[in-house]
């Protein structure tokens, strides 16, 4: 990331390589679909603790 106009949280974000993503989502799908964090092989999204099902304001 070399742009200097990104939000601070992006600057502090943790970078995961494709291999790291695969190691999390590949062999241990069952474990990580339940995970408190994070990416899911099928969803490729945060599957974590926060829920926005509250349907906006």
């Amino acid at each position: 990331m070399d742009q200097d106009n990104r939000v601070l949280s992006r600057k502090g974000a943790r970078e995961l390589t494709a291999q790291e993503v695969e190691s999390v989502t590949g062999a241990l799908i069952i474990r990580h679909t339940l995970s408190p964090c994070f990416i899911d092989k099928h969803q490729q999204l945060l599957n974590g603790d926060q829920n926005i099902g509250e349907c906006g304001g």
């Binding site: 990331m1 974000a13 943790r14 494709a18 999204l45 945060l46």
Partner: protein, 364 residues
């Protein structure tokens, strides 16, 4: 009595819990949320006897409604372009009517929608936690550059920054990603004032943690797990994904338990996942609560936790029961058994994809 789960059937917590409850002879139905499809339709008849039907399932006195993770209301895509904005608002309003009405019916809501909406706000959580006697770190939520700089410049302080919501950035056409997590920040690392206005953030006094605690609240029962991160990272969540985290059952200090139960009573929630940091003096610092946070992963990290069985015991007990959940947890099968069936493809897979993920952005 039946359990009505407001979530898709393949939600990663809904599926094993539904399976376990049904195996024990309980009735469970799911409603993924309001949508134009037959399964997503709802009707609310307000007459002498009010009648609410969600996806063909009537909501009856004595039912338990677990507001797990309903999907956003979905209007019919065939609606005229000229009417889509109106239809979308109508869907949203009807959904809110249903969600708020539920807590006025003779059913037990886990959690009540109004309570969930309030307590999901991080500022409310911290203030209420402090009022209930829990220790909370000094925190600034701001998009005002001068306030941020002043906060980080406090004498002798070490601070962290985190977002209000999690997010993933994925590079176009690649599998590599960047994921928000808590990170330490010092005054000299702050970007320009302009950048601090791009997105508000949470700046917080850093808790010098010896370990983290994930706590699960079920009614009057509190279950705490010490999370030891072999990588000693500030934020254990991603490392949990890599298997670097150990979860050990730990006693909750009485003063913390008292504060958490007071927090639950005052906020009106009966269920949630709480995070604490424990310092070298053994003090528990409240960090946050997610009222529908993930909890079954703890069963995978520590098979003796048996949170799936405890949750099943919780939702099938009378509302407000103080009887030990452990006394009834043996009535339900374990997550390990479910996982075994999942591996052998004898139960449907969980976690279907979503077309529009608000937590994911693409970047060049």
């Amino acid at each position: 009595m039946k359990l009505i789960v407001l979530a898709p059937e393949d939600d990663n917590h809904t599926a094993p819990i539904k399976w376990a409850l049904e195996k024990a002879g309980h009735r469970v139905v799911c409603w993924a949320g309001l949508s134009w499809t037959k399964e997503g339709q709802a009707s609310l008849l307000m007459d002498k006897d009010d009648t609410l039907v969600l996806g063909g399932h009537s909501v009856d006195p004595g039912d338990v409604v677990w507001v797990r993770r309903p999907e956003l209301p979905l209007p019919n895509p065939n609606t005229s372009e000229a009417d889509k904005k109106f239809a979308s608002m109508e869907y949203r309003s009807f959904y809110h009517s249903i969600a708020y009405l539920l807590e006025t019916l003779p059913v037990w809501c886990i959690n009540r929608y109004s309570a969930a909406r309030v307590i999901i706000q991080k500022a409310v959580q911290l203030r209420l936690a402090r009022q209930c006697g829990l220790k909370t770190p000094a925190t600034l939520m701001s998009n005002t550059p001068a306030a941020v700089r002043d906060f980080l410049a406090r004498q002798g302080s070490r601070n962290i920054c985190k977002g209000f919501t999690p997010h993933v950035w994925q590079k176009e056409g690649q599998r590599s990603v960047a994921i928000t997590e808590t990170f330490e920040i010092a005054s000299e690392q702050l970007p320009t004032d302009e950048i601090l206005t791009y997105a508000p953030a949470i700046y917080q006094e850093m808790v010098r943690k010896e370990f983290d605690v994930r706590m699960v609240l079920m009614g009057e029962k509190i279950y705490s797990y010490a999370l030891t991160n072999t990588k000693k990272a500030l934020d254990w969540r991603q490392d949990a994904g890599f298997g670097h985290v150990k979860a050990d059952i730990i006693d909750t200090p009485p003063e913390v338990a008292k504060g958490v139960l007071a927090f639950a009573r005052q906020s009106g929630i009966c269920f949630g996942s709480l995070d604490f940091g424990v310092d070298a003096q053994g003090q528990w610092w409240f960090l946050e609560i997610n009222e529908q946070g993930q909890f079954l992963w703890i069963d995978q990290f520590n098979r003796s936790a048996r949170l799936l069985e405890k949750f099943c015991a919780f939702v099938t007990a009378p509302e407000g029961s103080t009887a030990p959940l452990e006394a009834r947890e043996n009535l339900f099968p374990s997550l390990e058994e479910y996982e075994d069936l999942l591996k052998r493809e004898q139960v449907p897979p969980t976690a279907r994809g979503r077309a529009d993920d608000p937590f994911l952005s693409m970047e060049a």
